[in-house]
């Protein structure tokens, strides 16, 4: 029963969503809405579960004095700080409003930290491109040329360069960049999308029909 009930639930929910897409009967819609609400509740609970798990893992790290255990203290302290300030010192339910203490932390600590982390990518990308982006073979050369044209075509410099080297109208770098994005890129993306869609359909059917059971864990 430990495995049968989850399998049965999966089959019922899966078939309900599948059928109601093609037959929008009010009862099927009602069931689909109810299952969607269940999912939202489970997803919200998963956020808490994730937060508690973060605390547990960090505490274990401190307890065992694992490498970089000091950062685990920072993690727990930051977590508790934002939770306490958010819950008790930021105007209750309107804690996200501009001007609250929670908002101050979001604006002055969280935002700069996130922005810094992503901004560093620009430097690493530049360094990595210099060291690793080589035209070693025909495929790499095509990739390199496409990257050049798209990178330059996505900036006003591309248009300026096109006018300097007297490229004919409609054949400027930005036009070539658009051709790459709208035709070659779209063709490739469509192939990937169709592949993913077919894979999703087959995997979903295997899960709904109980053939694929690895998500239940165990053997």
């Amino acid at each position: 029963m430990k495995r049968e009930i989850p399998l049965l639930l999966t089959a019922i929910v899966g078939f309900t969503f599948l059928i109601q897409f093609f037959i929008p009967h009010p009862f099927l819609r009602f069931l689909a809405d109810m299952f969607s609400d269940w999912f939202s509740i489970i997803a919200a609970a998963a956020i808490w579960l994730g937060a508690l798990n973060l605390i547990r893992v960090s505490l274990e790290k401190i307890n065992k004095k694992e490498s970089d255990w000091f950062y685990a203290i920072v993690t727990i302290a930051s977590f508790l700080l934002i939770v306490i300030i958010g819950f008790f010192f930021s105007g209750g339910r309107s804690f996200q409003d501009p001007g609250t203490r929670f908002d101050w932390i979001y604006l002055n600590i969280y935002t700069p930290l996130m922005a810094t982390m992503f901004a560093m990518l620009a430097f690493f990308v530049a360094s990595a491109s210099y060291r690793a982006f080589r035209a070693r073979n025909a495929q790499a050369t095509v990739l390199l040329l496409a990257a050049f044209l798209v990178m330059l075509g996505r900036t006003p410099f591309g248009d300026w360069l096109s006018s300097i080297v007297f490229l004919p109208k409609g054949w400027g770098i930005s036009n070539i960049s658009n051709i790459i994005m709208n035709y070659f890129n779209v063709a490739g993306q469509r192939a990937i999308m169709i592949g993913i869609a077919l894979g999703t359909v087959s995997t979903s059917l295997r899960i709904i029909l109980g053939i694929e059971r690895t998500y239940l864990g165990g053997d």
Partner: protein, 300 residues
């Protein structure tokens, strides 16, 4: 010459970092500007908003966090200004927890009213929160716009919005009953919106809005994406499933040019252009040095 190429190959990465740093910061401090051309996908988005009659209702889904702020926040700010000018009412939601806060911050940024509070009919209204002033236009929270906050559930939130908005968002992001606001009158389900504007930095985002809202409930959707994500949604644009697309900072700058609200994205275009040029130059130099020194090694 060989020696020079070898030196170039073993160049300290901190020099590359310094060059990129200067390329990004100098144009910002010098307030340099560059003229840009508007691409078809941004023009489609702008035209779609322009075609909406006054009083239309737009759902704005902010599915991003501060990591994508430099690219997406200018789009949010320009779009809100555009909506306000066009007298379009809008409801903000987020499939990412940080999205609704980002939208609030955008509204605070575009607000031009002085002071922190306004007293109106014995009500104390917080400027930037309850009331937003842009040029000659003033919008009021609950009447002209609303922030419904974040809801967990990813694409199933979109699916559920298809049958009921209040079931997914019984309260706004301050905890007040959603149905108590005048803007919600006649807004029962997703199809009641005239347009969806999605700002997306990944999953869940534009792909999910197209698959669930556009294809299922036939609500037109325009999007603003990070430059990394934009190529993934191009097929939807060509198929007509996406009504306009702003890709990265350049997309935001083009939108600013069309609306006439020159702001952050336009100001950052020179920096981005300079960084792109230097990255291209680095790749050229790197390849040149690599092939020159490799040929020499093989001869030996």
């Amino acid at each position: 010459m060989q020696k020079l190429f070898r030196i170039l190959l073993s160049i300290d990465r901190r020099i590359i970092f310094l060059v990129i740093f200067l390329a990004l910061t100098v144009p910002i401090f010098l307030r340099m500007k560059i003229d840009i051309d508007v691409t078809r996908e941004v023009q489609i988005f702008y035209d779609a908003i322009e075609a909406l009659p006054s009083g239309s209702r737009v759902l704005v889904s902010c599915d991003y966090d501060p990591g994508s702020e430099p690219e997406l926040q200018p789009m949010a700010e320009t779009a809100f200004k555009h909506f306000i000018r066009k007298k379009i009412r809008f409801a903000i939601i987020g499939l990412w927890p940080q999205g609704p806060t980002q939208a609030s911050r955008a509204l605070v940024m575009i607000n031009e009213a002085k002071g922190r509070y306004i007293i109106e009919n014995n009500d104390t209204l917080t400027v930037g929160r309850d009331i937003v002033v842009v040029g000659q236009d003033t919008i009021r929270y609950g009447k002209d716009f609303i922030n419904l906050g974040f809801q967990s559930g990813n694409e199933l939130v979109i699916q559920r919005l298809g049958s009921s908005i209040t079931a997914v968002f019984p309260n706004d992001f301050r905890g007040v009953a959603t149905s108590s606001y005048p803007i919600m009158s006649g807004l029962n389900r997703l199809a009641d919106f005239d347009f969806i504007f999605n700002l997306s930095a990944g999953y869940p985002g534009t792909v999910e809005w197209v698959q669930f809202a556009v294809d299922r409930f036939h609500v037109p959707c325009g999007a603003g994406n990070t430059a990394v994500q934009a190529p993934q949604v191009y097929p939807y644009l060509d198929a007509g499933q996406l009504t306009g697309l702003m890709g990265g900072m350049k997309g935001g700058a083009e939108y600013e040019k069309l609306t006439g609200y020159t702001a952050k994205a336009t100001m950052s275009m020179v920096s981005q252009t300079a960084a792109h040029i230097f990255v291209v130059l680095f790749i050229v130099i790197g390849n040149l040095a690599y092939f020159m020194t490799r040929g020499k090694k093989e001869n030996h």
